[in-house]
């Protein structure tokens, strides 16, 4: 009886694992399959060129890739320090009641729907950005980056906090015994011990930022040009998919959607591989 249950449990969990593995394989398989005709067809590699102008038969989506990377990196550059700041505040720099409030706020923020940020930002942030930057329409790289940094902040902060909480508990007494204040324990003992965790949080935040669709679609302006300034209207790969999936299924514009999907997958794989090798070098060091 007990033996049977163990077997059943093993089989069930193994099967769940298999399902997950197969799903990942299917996603990659399907998208590459649908992207393939673009390369084998007449278009060839022109899809990976720098100009998007369907009216003239130019379907380059590289500007969108650049835009995706720019928006995600700027959101990360803004959101990561903020997340780190909040975590340090919660774990030692701020009075405990404030820390608890901030933690509650972060938990609440994870429940904040992305589309809510987008909706509120159209009417609040876009006019401010237009006047503040003094150029452009307010729908811009900067606007999308700002809001995205807020979107990815709670996820990053909670991942950091989970790691820091354990490390801090472990090192609290050690630090105190060395004569460190709570702040010093945090900056000199806890943070260095958590750097892998901080790195993982950054990777996670980057992944969410580059993968978000609604914020760029609603706030970045969607102009298919190379990003060159913060007030530029730009189009990310994700927004491109959302906008173009609507077109006629015969054209190369339609095919570019699947290429965009594949590019996003490749970025994802790259990030994961980099993260893994970084974490591994951290281990041996």
């Amino acid at each position: 009886m007990r033996f049977d249950r163990n077997r059943i449990a093993d089989v069930t969990f193994g099967a769940s694992a298999l399902v997950t593995g197969l799903a990942v394989a299917a996603i990659f398989g399907f998208l590459f399959l649908f992207a393939l005709p673009v390369f084998t067809g007449g278009q060839g590699l022109s899809i990976l060129s720098g100009v998007w102008n369907p009216g003239r038969g130019q379907f380059g989506i590289l500007p969108m890739l650049a835009a995706s990377l720019c928006v995600a990196l700027s959101a990360l550059a803004l959101g990561w320090p903020l997340a780190l700041g909040l975590c340090c505040g919660i774990r030692g720099f701020l009075p405990r009641p404030v820390g608890r409030l901030l933690l509650m706020l972060l938990r609440g923020m994870t429940a904040f729907p992305t589309v809510v940020y987008g909706f509120a930002a159209i009417f609040l942030l876009v006019p401010i950005m237009r006047e503040g930057l003094g150029r452009g329409s307010g729908l811009s790289w900067a606007t999308a980056g700002l809001v995205l940094s807020l979107v990815i902040l709670p996820t990053m902060a909670l991942v950091m906090d989970a790691g820091m909480r354990q490390t801090e508990r472990r090192l609290r007494l050690t630090g105190a015994a060395l004569g460190f204040t709570r702040e010093q324990t945090l900056t000199h003992l806890v943070l260095p011990a958590c750097r892998k965790n901080l790195l993982a949080a950054a990777a996670l935040g980057f992944g969410r930022a580059i993968g978000d669709t609604l914020i760029p679609l609603m706030l970045a302006g969607n102009a298919p040009q190379w990003p060159s300034a913060a007030w530029d209207s730009i189009r990310t790969l994700t927004a491109h998919i959302g906008l173009v999936l609507a077109t006629d299924s015969n054209s190369a514009a339609y095919g570019s959607v699947f290429v965009a999907g594949c590019l996003l997958l490749l970025v994802n794989v790259t990030v994961q591989l980099c993260l893994r090798s970084l974490l591994r070098t951290g281990e041996t060091a």
């Binding site: 007990r2 249950r5 163990n6 449990a9 193994g14 099967a15 769940s16 694992a17 399902v19 997950t20 593995g21 990942v24 394989a25 299917a26 996603i27 399907f30 399959l33 320090p81 903020l82 997340a83 700041g85 909040l86 340090c88 720099f93 701020l94 901030l102 706020l105 429940a111 904040f112 729907p113 992305t114 589309v115 809510v116 987008g118 909706f119 509120a120 609040l124 807020l150 902040l153 354990q166 702040e183 010093q184 900056t187 996670l204 993968g211 978000d212 669709t213 609603m218 994700t238 998919i241 959302g242 999936l245 699947f258 999907g261 996003l264 997958l265 994802n268 990030v271 994961q272 893994r276």
Partner: protein, 296 residues
């Protein structure tokens, strides 16, 4: 030497502690001031008597009630699909011994976690086209398709939180269970899972939150502007996040815009109460397992 570092961190801390709540307050402030006025029965039922609207006897066209119902059914179906494989896979990763298969699976889960939601929607869309060309020529975008794709989207959240929760338990706990004479499954069921319930429920919560708010996936797999109450898993449906996205761009007059704001408030309240409800559930379950009663 230590002073600049501390100073830098302290600046970051105060900056973050001020900026983030302020930004959030500004955003919610806008939503509340502009949307609160439209929060009424008319927003939900669009002039149809509430009772008949809720039971679906009279279809609602100008209210968000069908979208609320759609989001809830989508959420339920998604979690139904994702919970088993998600937690099962997490347990597998946490309890099985190291092997090539396990390492590969771990990587696959990380990859899955990084897949953007619009790409997941795109996958659902291609799957639908494939189905129509092969075994199911009449398949259409539907609640089920959207739920499947959403389930895939939230799966890695479930897997990694379950795994992390189980792996962070002290090694001694496994030994305690074994020393008590509990079998592998019993130790898992009665000691390890309850001890890590907080973490796992946290993961479920996070997953539910993402499923409730995601727009990009359902945009491509079955959410529409008007469909009435969900009629079954094979029909199209309305959903709150999509309704918001739609209204933000399609409103025709000031009132519709105001209702758009009110709708975001409704979704916000729904998400937050999901959070509150889940943490309550978390506490209740934990207390039941612990058998702890407060005397006062």
């Amino acid at each position: 030497m230590s002073r600049p570092a501390t100073y830098f961190v302290r600046t970051a801390v105060w900056g973050a502690a001020l900026i983030v709540p302020l930004a959030l307050a500004a955003l919610t402030g806008v939503l509340v001031t502009r949307g609160a006025g439209a929060l009424d029965a008319n927003l939900f039922f669009g002039g149809v008597p509430a009772l008949q609207a809720m039971t679906g006897r009279i279809p609602v066209w100008d209210g968000i009630w069908p979208a609320c119902a759609g989001t809830l059914s989508l959420l339920g179906l998604t979690m139904l699909l994702a919970l088993g494989p998600g937690i099962g896979c997490g347990i597998y990763l946490a309890t099985s011994t190291a092997s090539r298969a396990k390492a590969l699976l771990g990587f696959a889960v990380d990859l899955l976690a990084g897949i953007p939601s619009i790409v997941m929607g795109l996958f659902g869309f291609t799957m639908l086209l494939m189905l129509r060309r092969t075994i199911a020529p009449n398949a259409g975008a539907s609640l089920l398709l959207a739920a499947c794709c959403l389930a895939l989207l939230v799966l890695p959240v479930l897997v990694s939180t379950t795994r992390a929760a189980l792996e962070s338990l002290p090694r001694q706990l496994h030994l305690t269970g074994a020393a008590m004479g509990l079998g592998k499954w019993q130790t898992l069921r009665h000691i390890l899972l309850p001890s890590s319930a907080r973490g796992i429920l946290g993961g479920i919560l996070l997953a539910a939150g993402r499923a409730a708010e995601d727009t990009a996936v359902i945009m491509l797999t079955g959410a529409v502007a008007n469909a009435g109450l969900p009629a079954g898993v094979f029909s199209r449906f309305e959903a709150l996040p999509f309704t918001i996205f739609y209204r933000s761009s399609q409103y025709r007059d000031a009132l519709e815009l105001e209702q758009g704001f009110a709708t975001t408030l409704v979704l916000l309240v729904l998400s937050l109460s999901l959070l509150a409800g889940a943490s309550k559930l978390q506490r209740t379950l934990e207390q039941r397992w612990q058998g702890i009663r407060d005397d006062d």
